[in-house]
Symmetry: C2
Amino acid sequence: MQKRQLQMIMFIKCKDLCKRDNPQVPESLGVLIGCTFLVAMFLFIPIPYTFEESALFDIKTGAKPATFPHEKFAEMIAALLSICCMILLGFADDVLDLRWRHKLLLPTMATLPLLMVYYVNFNITTVIMPKFVRSLLGYSLDIGVFYYIYMGMLAVFCTNAINILAGINGLEVGQSIVIGASILFYNVIELAFGHQVDCHKFSIYLMLPFLAVSLALWKYNKYPSQVFVGDTYCYFAGMTFAVVGILGHFSKTLLLFFIPQILNFLYSVPQLFHFVPCPRHRLPKYDVRTELLHISTTEFHLKDLNPLGLLMVRILKNLKLISWQEQVDGRVITNNFTLINFVLVLFGPVHESVVTQFLLGFQVICTLCALIIRYPLASYFYEA
Amino acid sequence: MQKRQLQMIMFIKCKDLCKRDNPQVPESLGVLIGCTFLVAMFLFIPIPYTFEESALFDIKTGAKPATFPHEKFAEMIAALLSICCMILLGFADDVLDLRWRHKLLLPTMATLPLLMVYYVNFNITTVIMPKFVRSLLGYSLDIGVFYYIYMGMLAVFCTNAINILAGINGLEVGQSIVIGASILFYNVIELAFGHQVDCHKFSIYLMLPFLAVSLALWKYNKYPSQVFVGDTYCYFAGMTFAVVGILGHFSKTLLLFFIPQILNFLYSVPQLFHFVPCPRHRLPKYDVRTELLHISTTEFHLKDLNPLGLLMVRILKNLKLISWQEQVDGRVITNNFTLINFVLVLFGPVHESVVTQFLLGFQVICTLCALIIRYPLASYFYEA
């Protein structure tokens, strides 16, 4: 059946621009992966709740148990609702090619049910302060509605961060697998310590099937890609991470696993907010002769930039974070500001699969850093 | 913003075959309507739970209340999850044009979360028997797992029943509005009687926004259609009805509001199950000269039909429910077996808008019959 669905979905096709003959590759497989995940979760839902002792039905009367964990159950369903909603919106984006401002609005909409559940089940908006500011602000601070805004923005960030660090074979899926595995590893450590058992169990319930479907997708999406994942998969993966971060109460740790995405976002800021001209696509250029990727570039006159843009460009240039070619007529040619291009600036033209491997390796190293920050360092700022 | 989204969605276009110059009409507006419904519901969720006295947070400590109706809350979220899932699958169907067997599988998948919640919150699988069989089977009968199969099949029926009584301007939306209004009317009556207040309140919460978005869609979808709704809307509407029927505990009454759809389904059975040849489209034929609709036909040799098909065709012929033309070479030409064609068999060629008006009028009459069956007649079979 999967084979047939693959054939049907193939009519949404896309050219692979980094290959010799620009082969047509079926696009938007993410929707299939997302639906598989949802069906697996639907079938899984009753299992953890049926075998809890407190949740057993009275066999004689069929009456529902008095102590059934309805809160946890509502959380699980709301999590799936947010993910399902995001897959729907992502698929709509793939098919209809929405504009940027909608890409920010959509995840906000999809997070609403999650925030509702958070409001109803927890409504804890208190942030524990690091030790060194406690004398000023006290042990904890209730930031109220800002906590909800923070959570909403977390979802917007997670979904879009994966979507902008993308475009070469296997990168979207690869980074999602690394992040998912990092979260799973963190959950297992916390479970072993016996911290907040319920939250981390909840996260594991979602992460295991997520990794399973992502690994299946990776098989077809890795270099050379037989399928593309579309925005749907990026949104789906990002929302799944945001959901476990929010309802699992480890949103700060979650952000630590997103270091490469955060760096990519910060590096992209001058172009994303149009301080520097941003072409429609910022993918590296493919050289047919050598089969290597070269940086893609953007051109501008320094006098056309506003003061803030000029400042950003000068900082990046002085830190040697961008390539820089000044033409005789005063035009400047630099690489596009993405992590993918930055890898090419560092190492020169390399093969597409090498770029992916390098970025995934960097993601793994960042996870190790994140765990170091989370465990030994955090005890300096908070209790151990 | 809506205007711009309409423009973007317009690239999925479809020819209106029942108009003079087959104008291109934007297709699959259902996904926009469905998403609007979901967003409205997301924003609405906290309202009924915030103002219930038992649900108020302790303002000083921010602790969650002990008596918060978590069960009801989980129901509402599961209902939205099923609807969201169905919109996603419907949109996938519109874009990818799935096959028939998937159309039966998809609603089953989408109902899963609903059945889970039913299992966890109620798990009542007992059917109350009509008075005249109680001496045989007792007052009630626990049908166990069959009750879940019944509910799953109800969802499959509701989603597909609207989808097969469709194809002329405004019919899908019109019938959904009539059914929705009937359900709302029934809920209000039951609320006035004070029966099962919670269930009917739940249904009203879903029906009001459903009617609002459907009326907005009706404005553009009524004859002459400026937009088409796609399978998405039919699935969305059907699933919304199934959800309120199942979680509102009035699935039998719900089926009474589907009488025209049931008749259409029964009438279609010979073609749907291929006892009689079924062309890809069974829409009526448009006559450019007179601007009237004529029946569309199917041809077969009586000797090619299997015994069951022959029996069905003979019954329909003798009851004068189909047109019948025998050719000299033994071929038979009949109308396609849909309620739309049946209206044309009855009244001869009429204008497209007249067919819609007639079918919607019939739907209203059926609702009145349903209420008569539900109220005065049901008391003969069950308690008043």
